[in-house]
């Protein structure tokens, strides 16, 4: 992997940029450039055929100044420690920008889940918890599902942790199935958080979103929820939506429920009645109030950024905009709600799951939603204020808010 594309180097560069803008002192800057705690583990796992396979994994607690580490566990054949480090850093900024009392962490196991049976996955999940269990706990580090890990895997991991400790600790891990301590509202949390910040942005920018158009690239889980919630909460109409096979477009608006139904039954949005076909590229360039890139990384690049004609760009996917494109969008006055703010609804509801587990008291959907709304609203306010005060675009502003909060916590603890 070249240095340019090493994710951890990218994460460090982003921090360097924020540190410079904030005028962080050298020690704090250096502290925040590195994970505080790294654990590399080797796990023997018995396979179904009786053989033993050795797996390697990581758990990184990047920074815990603001609270216990929080971050998912990835199972991927190409997992590297640098990817996990970078993602742990991003989790630190994400929990900070939405101001929940957690730090950032990430874990990973080098494995190919496509080549593991369910029973092997269970043994691997339990082996991982036995290997890193001493550093986990509701007061230390709370994992969650991530790439190729599922609520079921979280359930096995929680069970193994409880077996080790001999006590109930449902809050040791989030994203569990609801019957064993999972939270209501997790299914649409990311999209809902995104819509809440869109609403805040519209208020701040004085835009009336009622009957305004929204365009969704990536009509998967998050995209579908965004369309539904955008319609219900903001009164927006769906102008266009796409998936990997192409998109559909109707300037008069598309029936969201019918499109979801069509997508579920046919596997694609293409061919939906009363719409015109549109390519993914052309869809991004539509004149629309809100554009939600909700699927892939790096879809808005230096090449097409100047053609983007939305008013608000809400990044439900991770990293849909390249850094070069960011500058162009800022020049064009496209208001970007950066990924780690716009899609922080997921981690916020994870936090709420952890709180409910600790209380041993479970909230209904309404309660989850108003807490999520409050969190997203104040997160937006902080970032927007920072953007206006320091005259930087929203992504930089989000970094500044997040890094400043972590730096402050380090300072108050007397670490620096």
């Amino acid at each position: 992997m070249t240095e340019m594309l090493n994710p951890f180097r990218i994460a460090q560069r982003e921090l360097d940029h924020a540190a410079e803008k904030l005028g962080l002192d050298d020690a704090t800057h250096e502290l925040l450039r590195w994970p505080m705690h790294e654990l590399k583990v080797t796990m023997p796992v018995k396979m179904d055929d009786g053989s033993t396979k050795i797996f390697h994994g990581f758990r990184i607690q990047y920074n815990t100044a603001r609270g216990p580490a929080k971050g998912g566990i990835r199972w991927h054949p190409d997992e590297t420690i640098d990817t996990v480090r970078a993602l742990a850093a991003w989790m630190t900024w994400k929990t900070s920008v939405v101001d929940i009392p957690l730090g950032g962490g990430k874990g990973g196991v080098i494995c190919n889940p496509k080549e593991l049976t369910d029973t092997e996955k269970e043994r691997l999940a339990r082996a991982y918890v036995r290997a890193v269990g001493r550093t986990l706990g509701v007061t230390r580090d709370v994992p969650a599902p991530d790439v190729y890990t599922t609520p079921q895997i979280m359930g096995w991991m929680m069970d193994e942790y409880e077996t080790l400790t001999g006590e109930h600790h449902p809050g040791v891990i989030t994203g569990k199935p609801i019957p064993i301590g999972g939270s209501q509202g997790r299914g649409d949390a990311t999209a809902r958080g995104g819509i809440y910040v869109v609403r805040e942005a519209a208020n701040a920018l004085n835009i009336d979103l009622k009957d305004a158009t929204m365009t969704i690239q990536g009509f998967g889980n998050a995209g579908q929820h965004a369309a539904r919630i955008g319609r219900d909460l903001l009164g927006m109409k769906l102008l266009a939506a796409s998936d990997s096979k192409g998109g559909v477009y109707n300037p008069k608006g598309i029936d969201v429920e019918a499109l979801i139904e069509h997508k579920i039954s046919t596997g694609q949005v293409g061919g939906f009645p009363d719409t015109d076909a549109i390519t993914n590229e052309a869809l991004l360039e539509l004149d629309t109030a809100v554009l939600f890139p909700a699927a892939l990384e790096n879809v808005i690049t230096a090449k097409n950024a100047s053609e983007i004609r939305c008013t608000i760009l809400c990044e439900l996917a991770n990293g849909p905009t390249t850094p070069e494109a960011d500058e162009i969008l800022y020049e064009k006055n496209v208001f970007v709600l950066p990924d780690f703010l716009a899609n922080a609804g997921g981690v916020t509801v994870s936090y709420l799951e952890q709180v409910q587990n600790t209380y041993n008291l479970y909230w209904n959907l309404e309660e989850i939603r108003w807490r999520l709304k409050d969190t997203m609203r104040s997160a937006f306010a902080s970032v927007f204020e920072m953007s206006r005060n320091t005259d930087v675009h929203m992504r930089d502003a989000a970094y500044l808010v997040a890094v400043a909060r972590v730096a402050e916590a380090c300072k108050l603890r007397g670490w620096v």
């Binding site: 609520p151 889980n221 039954s265 046919t266 090449k303």
Partner: protein, 760 residues
């Protein structure tokens, strides 16, 4: 005293039974003698001595007649004394069977004998209870072969296998379910023969039986309309000329075929044949039928003919005359397909044109149940005893592969474009290339084929629409439900299910029913009996597995063995690959598109890397209609641009081959694994994936040739000229003195190669 009376009554009854067949008394006593000798060591000499002594005692002259009379009586008495009534019946019946068998042998070996005479002799033999005493194996084998030849198939390889499994009584059952013309002999054809044989291999009458299979496997109700009916039909309507159409050229065959429907429409069956159809329809009742082609050549060992001839669904409902009309229409459609261009060209390619192909029809009750207007089985599909879809090295190819769908199996047999049957490697049934809820939902079956009984035609319905309309009692076996990212099968039947969040995974069906273990045994038994890989079509309904068809060659061409060329000079080899090889033979490739992995890796900017994917898409469109192969770094279609060129399916859909090249760099080899995110797309589109690890032993790619051959990118697509250092567009004949690229892939040997040779 009482005991004596009982023995007397027993002897009396035995004698009564024997005297029903006086001409067989001698044969019966012969059998008695042999069992007395075998079971109580009482031989003929001893009995003769005893008879002589008795005659002497009674002072009767020991003439031969008297001795025989005494001996017969003594044999009878010994039998009564030593054996039970049931056993005695078996011996009497054995004599009868041997007698009838002798007659049957005579009949089946008489030149020009009519089917009716054989049928009668066969019935005479089979009406004797089977019991557990058997006629001579060699004589029985001779009769079996002769009967198979007469009624089932005249193909030698088939007869060679079938005689070991199909019994005389099986043929009697077939004949009982057969319909034929009084004027013409005929056979039941390859497909019907394959099915009968498969059932007997799996559920043998004589060899070791398997209780699990006997419980779970059911035989679909089948009827055979033999080829004589159709020969009669052709002659009756003066259509004999159709049989010579096959010698015309392709265009003329196609032209002639267009005229056939109108001719067939007018043609009629002789009135006695129509009466036969009426009788048949009255017997089966109103139940949807599938009329399957079963020609002589079809499904025989060596030539699959899959999908070449038609199979027709009929609703078989309404008034008797409506049903008759629909049935006759269906038969004509199947018969018509004998003269279609596809089977004739298929035969031409395989040197089978001169064979006098004749059509029979296998009529089966469609497996399934009716829900509202829709009739379909719970599940159906195709199973292969050899698995060419090995996307993981953990999968054992020899354990086979199952393609499973909800509803009618037409969805599994046909390539279905954007829909996905459940692909099950039998060695690791729950392993699947998709991980995560959205992937699994994306690659799950979305549409279901059903038979609409009211509209009398096949319908393709969205799965969710269908199950909302009906209440299927086995739905819990087929689906999994996504509850906030947790995709799980229902815990129990009757559990409340949110259909909007469900998709077809067959999780419970695969883990909680005998299906997998039964199918594994079935594939193993069939492959062992045939001595080569087989594929079977099946349906599952109401807790039973129905075998619908069995053949030795697959409809998936990658199962047909490909022989790799030998002794090819190195300068004529483009590549050699030896991992994850699937069977394929792709010839006459004119263009090569090569994305140089090293040059690609040197690109540092994201935008620039993404641009390469765009160029590949443009080249793909440019080469539409040309035969081309695409090679490039790592994983095609990956979301991570560092792992491979970022392309979507439309960017590569015109290529015949998609090659993934992984050079070792910095001591590690990326695992291309066919970019399994869209491997299903490739499988469905017939694009052959090839993985090449040039730095590993035994693998190779001629990088020098690819980099030094004339690159036509700038010339053909000048707007992309600046990418010519990464994307190479090579015209193969120009680069290799007029040859083309030919690709051979052999899954069994896990070896493949691409070579340059003249046009095939």
């Amino acid at each position: 005293m009482e005991e004596d009376l009982q023995q007397l009554i027993k002897a009396y009854r035995m004698y009564q039974k024997m005297m029903r067949y006086p001409h067989l008394a001698e044969a019966m006593r012969k059998i008695f003698l042999s069992v007395l000798s075998e079971k109580i060591s009482l031989d003929e000499e001893q009995i003769r001595e005893d008879a002589l002594k008795a005659l002497q005692k009674e002072k009767i002259e020991p003439s031969e007649d008297n001795i025989h009379e005494y001996m017969d009586a003594m044999v009878d008495l010994e039998v009564v004394n030593h054996f039970g009534e049931e056993e005695i019946d078996q011996y009497i019946n054995l004599a009868r069977k041997e007698d009838r068998l002798e007659k049957l042998i005579k009949v089946v070996n008489t030149e020009g004998v009519t089917s009716l005479r054989i049928k009668k002799a066969l019935r005479d033999f089979c009406e004797i209870p089977e019991g557990n005493t058997f006629v001579s194996p060699s004589e029985a084998e001779g009769v079996r072969v002769a009967l198979i030849h007469h009624f089932i198939s005249n193909q030698l390889p088939f007869k060679g296998i079938a005689k070991n499994h199909i019994t005389i009584r099986d043929i009697d059952e077939i004949v009982e379910h057969s319909y034929w013309s009084p004027r013409y002999p005929g056979r039941i054809g390859g497909k019907a023969a394959g099915l009968v044989l498969a059932h007997r291999i799996i559920l043998p009458r004589l060899m070791e039986r398997d209780p699990e299979l006997e419980r779970y496997l059911a035989i679909p109700e089948s009827y055979y309309f033999n080829s004589g009916i159709f020969s009669d039909f052709m002659d009756y309507n003066n259509l004999q000329g159709f049989h010579t159409h096959k010698y015309k050229n392709r265009k003329d065959i196609e032209e002639a075929y267009k005229k056939i429907p109108a001719i067939m429409e007018k043609a009629t069956f002789p009135s006695d044949t129509v009466d036969t159809f009426r009788r048949f329809l009255a017997e089966v009742g109103e139940h949807p039928l599938i009329l399957r082609s079963s020609s002589f050549l079809e499904d025989n060992v060596g030539h699959a003919f899959s999908g070449k001839y038609d199979s027709v669904f009929i609703a078989n409902s309404g008034t008797p005359e409506e049903r008759l009309e629909e049935f006759i229409g269906g038969l004509k459609s199947v018969l018509m397909s004998t003269f279609g261009p596809a089977p004739i060209l298929y035969r031409k390619e395989r040197n089978l044109l001169d064979f006098d192909e004749r059509m029979s029809v296998l009529a089966q009750k469609v497996v399934g149940r009716r829900f509202g207007d829709y009739f379909f089985p719970f599940a159906a599909g195709v199973a292969f005893s050899f698995n060419a879809y090995t996307w993981s090295s953990r999968i054992n190819q020899d354990d086979g592969l199952i393609r499973l769908v909800f509803g009618l199996g037409t969805r599994a047999v046909d390539r279905v474009g954007t829909d996905y049957p459940r692909m099950i490697p039998v060695s690791h049934p729950l392993l699947r290339p998709e991980v995560g809820v959205s992937q699994i939902r994306k690659y799950s079956q979305k549409k279901v084929d059903v038979f609409d009984v009211e509209k009398k035609r096949l319908e393709r319905m969205a799965f969710l629409d269908l199950i909302r309309k009906i209440d299927h009692p086995d739905l819990h076996l087929a689906i999994s439900v996504n509850q906030d990212g947790n995709l799980a099968a229902p815990m129990f039947k009757g559990q409340k299910i949110d259909l909007n969040r469900s998709c077809l995974t067959f999780q419970n069906f695969l883990t909680k029913t005998p299906f997998l273990s039964a199918m594994k045994k079935i594939l193993e038994k069939l492959e062992n009996a045939y001595g080569r890989p087989v594929d079977v079509e099946f349906a599952v309904d109401d807790g039973k597995l129905f075998l619908l068809q069995c053949r030795t060659l697959s409809l998936r061409k990658e199962l047909e063995p490909v022989t790799l060329p030998e002794n090819i000079p190195k300068d004529q080899i483009l590549f050699i690959n030896s991992r994850g090889v699937t069977n394929a033979l792709v010839k006459d490739i004119e263009y090569l598109v090569y994305v140089d992995p090293r040059a690609y890796n040197r690109i540092t900017g994201y935008t620039e890397k993404a641009e390469i994917g765009h160029v590949v898409g443009e080249v793909n469109r440019f080469l539409d209609g040309k035969r081309y192969a695409l090679f490039g770094p790592g994983r095609w279609g990956s979301n991570d641009i560092n792992l491979g060129v970022k392309v979507g399916y439309p960017d590569i859909n015109k290529t015949l081959i998609i090659g993934e090249i992984a050079f070792e760099e910095n001591g590690s080899t990326p695992e291309p694994s066919f970019g399994t995110h869209f491997f299903n797309d490739l499988v469905e589109a017939d694009i052959i994936p090839i993985a090449i690890y040039p730095d590993q032993q035994g693998m190779f790619i001629d990088e020098k040739l690819l980099l030094t051959a004339e690159n036509r990118l700038a010339k053909e697509l000048p707007e992309h000229a600046r990418h010519a250092s990464v994307v190479h567009l090579i015209h193969v004949p120009a680069a290799t003195n007029g040859t083309l690229l030919h690709i051979y892939q052999n899954a069994k040997e896990q070896k493949g190669m691409g070579i340059f040779a003249p046009r095939s």
